[in-house]
């Protein structure tokens, strides 16, 4: 055995050289780390320099334009908001549900275990699938519905309206020709009214009218009955379907008050219309029989009385009605308007409430959102899994020890404590969805759009697509516009990231 006093083996490496190499490496490290920062600075800097001049309120509030100076982000901004909101509503429950199953419902049998690990592996792999592949799937499955359901944008339209007393009327436009337009009313359902405990006047039928200018085709239907009626089409006049809850013969009585307007917006209890003559007009929704006011573009209100009354809004109480006209309110005895019937009408060819769906989905907000959902679902699942895994085991054991079932344990113990983590992951997933362009390019393509979506079947523009379009225009001034769009996009994303970080920090404070 040799001791340490024995001369050392090997040749000494000079210490100064080792120190020098170490120093050089540190310098290299610092340099490379700062290259990343530098890249970010250059990237954001070059974009801010280009885009700052275009960035003002008008930019956010204008629709796209062929002139760089007028071009704005409004359609794309709202399109993105619609897309991402819809996407999150779809992805969050699905993702969290899958994560709960994977983390909390440990499989017992051999096959269950295999299925479990397959799903687990599968989700990891889905996270690596290029987003454009999801775009193709979205195009085939959502936009076209495998081509099984016909053409996405034909004129077949579902018409559906709920009257204020809960009666649901729905119909389908089956033919739209100059000789005749045919509507099948597939059902008048009074069941909802009865379920809500509202009275369904016995013997009273629903009056339906196909209204075209002065011509009306009248029909009455009993609840649950399917009817079909047609009218000769004059394309110069809008075609409306009107509903009234009244005996058919009362329909014939002349109307006294007729309010006609274009839908502008709706707030709780209030419908704002644009009247060509009177300008802005507010109508309380209590008088509007079509409850889903998003759908409503044209309104007519008939008031039976001997007197001619015009007004901006009308509300009907138990004993009296209040008519507001030119800022002055006038109270009318309810008895005077005994024959009053209000009619909500729905112009054919127009969309329904914001959750109205028809198949195939076409290049709609819903199709885009579903496609984005596929893209972010793995992200949501994985981050939720991590959040759930971070919940201490003792909490679960405590809950089980108190006699909780598995779902009670999950819903009352695990989910609340994992919620901040899940939310953080969801926000980050959402910022991914906001920035995705490739799948949307496949699903919707770029569209010049000068409106904001009104329901999930609307066509849409999205911020990344708009930026892509601006960036690929040849006129250099559009580079500035694209850069301004990028600033907005990145600002939104930074906002989301900041929110995620805040939630994370708050959560960490709580657990300490």
């Amino acid at each position: 055995m040799s001791g340490p006093d024995e001369p050392l083996l090997g040749r000494e490496k000079p210490a100064w050289r080792r120190r020098l190499i170490d120093r050089l490496f540190v310098i290299g490290c610092v340099a490379s780390a700062f290259v990343s920062v530098l890249i970010l600075v250059v990237l954001l800097g070059s974009i801010v320099v280009r885009g700052w001049g275009h960035l003002d309120w008008a930019f956010l509030n204008h629709y796209p334009s062929r002139n760089a100076a007028d071009a704005g982000l409004k359609a794309a901004l709202w399109g993105t908001i619609w897309l991402c909101a819809t996407c999150m509503i779809l992805a969050l429950p699905l993702g969290v549900g899958a994560a709960i199953l994977l983390e909390e419902y440990a499989p017992k049998g051999l096959w269950a275990r295999r299925a479990h690990s397959f799903v687990e592996l599968n989700i990891r792999n889905l996270a690596g699938v290029p987003s454009i592949v999801y775009g193709i799937i979205g195009l085939t499955v959502f936009v076209r519905c495998f081509g099984l359901l016909g053409n996405p944008n034909q004129y077949d339209q579902m018409i559906r309206a709920t009257l204020a007393n809960g009666v649901v009327v729905q119909g389908m436009l089956v033919e739209d020709r100059p000789e005749s337009v045919v509507i099948d009313v597939t059902g008048v359902d009074g069941g909802a009214a009865q379920a809500e405990g509202m009275s369904w006047p016995t013997g009273v039928e629903v009056s339906l009218a196909l209204v075209q200018g002065e011509t009306e085709k009248l029909l009455s239907a009993k609840p649950g009955e399917a009817v079909s009626f047609s009218i000769r089409r004059d394309y110069n006049l809008p075609l409306d379907l009107a509903f009234a809850l009244a005996p058919a013969e009362e329909w014939e009585t002349p109307s006294v008050l007729k309010v006609d307007g274009v839908f502008r917006e709706s707030r709780p209890g209030l419908l704002v219309l644009n009247d060509p003559m009177e300008g802005r007009m507010e109508v309380p929704t209590t008088t509007v029989l079509v409850r889903e006011s998003f759908a409503v573009r044209t309104h007519e209100f008939y008031l039976r009385s001997n007197e001619v009354v015009r007004g901006d809004s009308l509300s009907i109480g138990e004993k009296s009605a209040t008519l507001v006209s030119g800022g002055r309110a006038r109270t009318i005895n309810r008895d005077d308007i005994q024959g009053y019937r209000s009619i909500g009408s729905l112009a054919i060819g127009q969309e329904e409430s914001f959750f109205y769906v028809r198949l195939p989905l076409g290049g709609s907000v819903l199709a885009g959102a579903l496609t984005l959902m596929l893209v972010i679902l793995p992200v949501v699942i994985i981050s939720s899994q991590e959040a759930i895994r971070a919940v201490p085991k003792s909490l679960r054991e405590g809950a089980f020890a108190a006699g909780a079932t598995r779902w009670q344990m999950v819903s009352r113990m695990v989910l609340p404590s994992a919620m901040p983590g899940i939310m953080t992951g969801a926000i980050l997933a959402m910022s991914r969805a906001i920035g995705e362009a490739a799948p949307l390019l496949v699903v919707g393509g770029f569209l010049f759009i000068t409106f904001t979506p009104t329901n999930v079947m609307s066509d849409f523009a999205a911020m990344p697509l708009q930026i892509y379009q601006w960036a690929s225009r040849p006129q250099p001034e559009f580079y500035g516009v694209a850069a301004a769009g990028i600033i907005v996009l990145v600002a939104v994303l930074l906002g989301f990231n900041a929110a995620a970080i805040l939630i994370r920090q708050k959560f960490q404070k709580h657990t300490r």
Partner: protein, 329 residues
């Protein structure tokens, strides 16, 4: 004298149409108008849609870009109301439309010249003859470098940028250069987006490309135009040479095709009426050449009479050639 009278008359009839369609509705008119198709026509339709929105805010107009062929595919399936086209509809396309019960009204809206451009740093090209153009683009060509085109030119590789095969621009170019039976060489960089082509040519000294004149007019400083000698001396595309037809054979009319059923919808009718009223002005603004005013009034009359079908094929479905003003009645 005679022409000015017709002009005045046609103007009157356009404004009448516009008054009929636009004034009838203004604020209360609602609905959606879907347009798709040629990237060449896109700037005009985009401009019209933008201006229309200012007058009739209730109507939502969407304009897509998927090439003339792609646009017709959707149009003939009844997916869109209006199809932008940089060439007349083809026989098989109108058959497809007929089979899915789609009738259409043909509306010419502007002239476009095809421009062949090179990089401004390219010092050697001052013009090309039609034969040289054919030599460069015909499929199976031996042209790999500029010297292969003309012996005194440098031995540098020639890089070609072309619009996508779905674009009317490509079809038109192909028709002129190799005829309908021939085919264009395959080793070009292809993009449906003309902007990509402009940028491709501006970034490469050895590049040559072709696209609609609008993109050349918009990027005059970044590109060098190649005058074409088709036997009457080298002629560059300008508003005059295109409108008078001297820039032959590389000038052509642009169209929109309107679904007949859709025209019955007041918002579509209003939009098309407004389109005709403003097409000339807006086409010039975005770099095209306006049509003679009687063509616009004939189009307005055709819409009012719901005259369907194309006027650019004969009874056998063979394409007709000639000045627009003669063909389009």
């Amino acid at each position: 004298m005679n022409t000015s009278l017709t002009g005045a008359l046609s103007l009157a009839s356009i404004s009448l149409l516009a008054a009929m369609t636009v004034a009838q509705a203004p604020s209360s008119l609602t609905g959606t108008v879907k347009a798709d198709g040629s990237s060449t026509v896109y700037p005009i339709t985009e401009a019209v849609a933008e201006e229309f929105k200012k007058i009739v805010p209730g109507v939502n107009v969407t304009v897509g870009v998927s090439g003339t062929g792609g646009g017709f595919k959707r149009f003939c399936a009844g997916e869109t109301d209006i199809s932008n086209a940089s060439r007349p509809i083809k026989k098989e396309e109108s058959e497809k439309a007929a089979s899915s019960n789609v009738e259409f009204i043909e509306v010419p809206i502007a002239y476009d010249g095809l421009s062949i451009v090179v990089n401004p740093k390219n010092m050697w090209v001052n013009h090309l003859t039609l034969d040289e153009v054919k030599k460069i683009w015909t499929d199976g060509t031996s042209v790999k470098t500029w010297r292969d085109v003309r012996a005194e030119w440098p031995d540098k590789p020639i890089r070609i940028f072309s619009p996508g095969t779905d674009s009317g621009t490509f079809d038109y170019f192909k028709e002129v250069v190799v005829g309908s039976k021939g085919s264009i060489r395959g080793d070009m960089s292809v993009s449906e987006d003309d902007n990509v082509l402009v940028k491709g040519v501006t970034g490469d000294e050895n590049a040559i490309g072709f696209f609609g004149c609008a993109y050349y007019f918009e990027n005059k400083d970044a590109l060098k135009i190649v005058p074409i000698d088709a036997g009457k001396g080298a002629i560059a595309p300008t508003h005059e040479t295109i409108e008078t037809g001297t820039y032959a054979p590389f000038s052509r009319p642009l169209f929109i095709y309107v679904n007949r059923k859709a025209v019955e919808r007041p918002e579509v009718k209003a939009f098309v009426g407004f389109y005709l009223q403003s097409a000339g002005k807006l086409a010039e603004e975005v770099g095209y050449v306006k049509l003679p005013s009687e063509v616009y009034s004939r189009a307005a009359r055709n819409i009012a009479a719901r005259r369907t079908g194309t006027q650019f094929t004969d009874d056998q479905g063979q394409p007709l050639h000639g000045p627009l003003a003669d063909l389009y009645q």
